[in-house]
């Protein structure tokens, strides 16, 4: 057996040497190997990170990602963005306190919805207008909104809007009362037939003008 030049170079198990009182070669060998593993891991991560950044920058600056609304997101991108929105709304709406919403709120909400929301979201038997139809992401129907969102979350979305989706924040355009009224109406939509929707949104209603609504904004 050749003399050990340095503990790290020795691969054989020399743990019996511990009796001598100095750190065993086996221990030193282990820590040397650990250092090598950590070093390799760091270098690999750095390398992967640099490569990833370079690829990302190339895709970004070359403009390869098609931003046109006739080309859909990749499936992963779509679900990532949608998930981020869902979790964000869930968190931010947590502190919203839902007031008592009455039948009168629903009636008032019908007018608010007709005047401000139906253009993009449509309603039972009611088509959105052209710009609502072809927006990407699609504003989507709200007849299933209660299956996706709690009442407080509907309020939060209406009030604050959703970045990069086309959903405006209504905080400065609808009064607090009208915002809750429209939320009350949307909350009832799943149970509405096309006929109910028509009746509620075409009956003579108190017209909701932006000027009148703004007065109550908090």
């Amino acid at each position: 057996m050749p003399p050990a030049s340095s503990p790290a170079d020795t691969a054989v198990d020399t743990s019996t040497d511990t009796a001598a009182g100095k750190p065993s070669i086996g221990e030193a060998d282990k820590s040397g190997r650990r250092r090598l593993i950590v070093k390799t891991a760091i270098l690999t991560l750095l390398g992967a990170g640099t490569l990833g950044a370079a690829v990302g920058l190339t895709v970004y600056r070359a403009g390869w990602y098609n931003i046109g609304a006739t080309s859909p997101h990749f499936s992963g991108v779509y679900s990532l963005l949608e998930g981020a929105m869902r979790y964000s709304v869930r968190r931010h709406a947590n502190s919203v306190v839902v007031p008592h919403l009455s039948e009168a709120d629903i009636v008032r909400g019908a007018a608010v919805y007709r005047d401000n929301c139906a253009q993009c979201h449509g309603g039972p038997g009611f088509a959105p207008s052209t710009h609502g139809l072809s927006m990407q992401p699609v504003p989507g129907p709200l007849v299933d909104a209660t299956a996706r969102w709690k009442v407080r979350e509907l309020y939060w979305i209406t009030r604050h809007g959703v970045k990069m989706s086309g959903m405006p924040a209504w905080e400065f355009h609808l009064s607090e009362a009208d915002t809750w009224a429209v939320v009350a109406f949307v909350n009832k939509m799943p149970a509405m037939s096309a006929r109910d929707y028509r009746r509620l949104t075409t009956a003579p209603l108190p017209t909701v003008t932006p000027a009148a609504s703004k007065g109550q904004a908090q």
């Binding site: 390869w64 859909p72 949608e82 088509a127 037939s193």
Partner: protein, 125 residues
């Protein structure tokens, strides 16, 4: 480093395939006319996917309208209409003429687009 032309071509082809989103390119179903690929694009411009889950279309998990997978295999649409391209186009363009109380709105789909859209839907089996 100089890249051999065959390798370069192979890489280019591979990335082109990747960028194309692995599109299989729907084939027109027998007895239908129109352009399924155009229909696939057109239907997103009438927000069909906002209410229907449609195979091949990126969108949310929605169950407002019925999911449209297996359209080619269905015998009836909208309850009692025989499933063929003409009837499907009629349903797409004017659902109220088939079923006045339906929640599916009239979305103002042109005849041309309805033909392409129905051509796409009828490739889904």
């Amino acid at each position: 480093m100089k890249m051999p032309p065959t390798l370069a071509a192979a890489l280019l082809a591979l990335s082109a395939w990747g960028l194309a989103g692995c599109d299989s390119g729907a084939k027109l179903a027998p007895g239908t006319s129109g352009d399924p690929e155009l229909g696939k694009l057109a239907l997103t411009q009438y927000a069909c996917q906002s209410c229907h889950k449609i195979p091949g279309i990126i969108g949310s998990e929605v169950y407002v309208g019925r999911p449209l997978e297996g359209m080619a295999k269905r015998r009836f649409i909208a309850g009692n209409l025989l499933n063929n391209q003409e009837n499907l186009m009629r349903w797409i363009r004017d659902p109220q003429s088939v079923y006045p109380e339906t929640a599916m709105p009239n979305l103002g789909v042109s005849e041309k687009d309805a033909r392409h859209i129905s051509a796409y839907l009828l490739t889904l089996d």
